[in-house]
Symmetry: C2
Subunit: 373 residues, 2 copies
């Protein structure tokens, strides 16, 4: 067999402004970090980077949790890691579903043998603590799972009432913060989150491929007391913590360059400071919401539950939304996304995440939309 000639062209991808649900635009410093020389996954120089990443992740998650590290995969791998480590086959799990990613958690938990119970809210709404408590009253669960920032709907779930309900019934709380961590407050210790995970390519603006996760000691305890081994070897946190912490025992080969990028992205978070970063995200979002209202596309989600990092404007009737998005991408090099699941065709998904969350990007997007609509 000979090489496929038509697959041998020079890599030539355009510069896009990424205003979809992720990846977000990567800052120059993160690109530069990625081409630091690759060293071995047990090299003392890399172990030092690993230590710094973990310290910076604790700041990002606002937690003292010892078990805090990046999974060597994208956000969905971190979701799967959360599920497979704290859920044992036969465990009762309550999943709160108000969008696509809640459905995904439930699907994963079922695959790993959990008895999954679900409660549902319309896409774009959120749950109250009472709803979760009532569900646990009807049928106890060992784990309650909820999505903090639903990328499919643009809703931000208040976490403390859900945490209280879960803990009142002795359950662990698992929170998906893929679309929120680093852009809006996620206070793992203060809110009482037992398992929290995220991705690198949203509000951290790193390339995808290294996904933060953190477990409180009580979640670690459940993990250590499992009757069965963690089904996934690659995502087994008992093995991963032996690599990420002392004795730094070989497990798998970490994605070195992606970890360099994550490290630089976390440095940028720490240098800016979380409070300033949250304020910058909110400032950009408010400018967007105002502009969308003027364009006749109000956000789908009520203001008090709106996710700052991802907005879902309702589409006016009579437009070919996919054609507009395509022109926006190909003529203006700006990416936004269509609706997912039951919101497909009804909303767009506009992300202002990480390095993308800047006023100039909002102005460009609004101007381009005015030209296209």
């Amino acid at each position: 067999m000979t090489p496929p000639e038509d697959a041998l062209h020079t890599l030539d991808v355009p510069q896009r402004l990424l205003l979809g649900p992720g990846p977000s635009t990567v800052p120059p410093r993160v690109y530069r970090a990625m081409i630091a020389p690759v060293v071995g996954h047990l090299d003392p120089a890399f172990v030092a980077v690993m230590d710094s990443i973990q310290a910076l992740l604790r700041y990002l998650f606002q937690t003292e949790n010892a078990l805090t590290l990046p999974i060597s995969g994208t956000g969905s791998a971190a979701m799967e890691a959360a599920v497979v480590n704290v859920v044992e086959p036969g465990d009762d799990v309550l999943v709160c579903i108000n969008g696509y990613f809640g459905q995904r958690i439930a699907a994963m938990a079922r695959r790993y043998g959990a008895n999954v119970q679900t409660i549902e809210r319309p896409w774009g709404e959120v749950f109250t603590g009472d709803e979760v408590a009532a569900a646990l009253e009807r049928r106890p669960a060992k784990v309650v799972a909820v999505v903090h920032g639903e990328t499919s709907t643009g809703a931000a779930q208040p976490i403390p009432p859900i945490a209280k309900a879960a803990h009142d019934f002795g359950a662990l709380l698992l929170v998906d913060a893929v679309a929120s961590l680093g852009g809006v407050p996620v206070l793992v210790d203060e809110w009482g989150i037992d398992v929290c995970y995220s991705g690198s390519q949203k509000c951290l603006s790193c390339p995808p491929g290294a996904s933060p996760i953190t477990l409180r000691p009580r979640a670690v305890q459940k993990l250590e007391q499992r009757q069965t081994p963690v089904t996934s070897w690659y995502l087994d946190l008992l093995l991963l913590r032996e690599y990420w912490g002392a004795p730094h025992k070989y497990h798998h080969t970490a994605p070195i360059s992606t970890m360099y990028a994550l490290y630089e992205g976390l440095r940028l978070v720490a240098e800016e400071g979380l409070e300033a970063r949250w304020a910058r995200h909110e400032d950009a979002a408010r400018l967007l919401w105002q502009g969308l209202a003027e364009l006749g596309m109000p956000p789908h989600v009520a203001e008090e539950h709106r996710l700052v990092s991802l907005t879902t404007p309702r589409l006016p009737g009579g437009i070919d939304e996919a054609a507009v998005r395509r022109r926006l991408l190909l003529e203006y090099n700006v990416e936004i996304a269509g609706g997912l699941g039951e919101l497909a065709g009804k909303v767009w998904r506009i992300g202002l995440m990480g390095y993308s969350a800047r006023r100039e990007n909002v102005l460009l997007l609004l101007a381009a939309l005015r030209a296209l609509l």
Copy 2:
């Protein structure tokens, strides 16, 4: 909580010559490809890159298999993908163990509920087809798993006799080519391999994080006829092929930059040509073997079964091998690795993989060893 000041230093990692079992030294063109602008995982520009990657992977694997793609994780994730997709809970699986990575396949298959039977050979030796046939005669299996290039021992397993034995008994053959693909011949179609996987950071010299896998149609058929869903959602090849092929349906966010790197690494393979690349690896290895013999450290593996891409010299008595490796790393910036498992303390592991497989690197290593021993 405030940012951890001592974790905020500028990323500063040394330039090492990577002559361990992987990662190998990354060529400049691959670094450059990695900083191409990140675009969306469904952007038409990225879909074009995905198509080219798949075409180039088919050349690399020497296969016509439609289902040929990179897993979004490191080599162990590809191993787990191979196991979880073709093995169902309750399936009989025969694993041939002559080193560390055979043990890992067996461990993964057990976690996913397989009935695992093993046959063993001393570390550094290989299996005959008759041994596999005799094991299948004693107890049939649906899948036979074997490691082509055992990174823990330096042995290269001849695959065709194992394929014949597996197929004579109606079993699928799963082959680990993590340490061999791209450095020594791996002829998936000609040898009759049903499932083959590898990593990016060994003989392809890309950063870790994107790991090739290919399935023959008969393995795909077993996958499609499963009685149970694939346990891992993240590694489910039925979902992944809908993303990597038409209709390019969203599954997870691919590690975009790592895929750019893989694309460039595969272009380098195609430009050099597999035959020339195999010859370059062999040339470098022979120079190493000769030099090691002169140093009184003959390779542990008999020449006819020696893995060209990874050599395991036997250590002379009376040296503190870890101290020598440490000085080699810190004083000469050259990485090699110690022995794993039952060969720990008895051998070193020296990789000449991908961009590292050059005569000048061998000369430098031998000169440094002469200075240190």
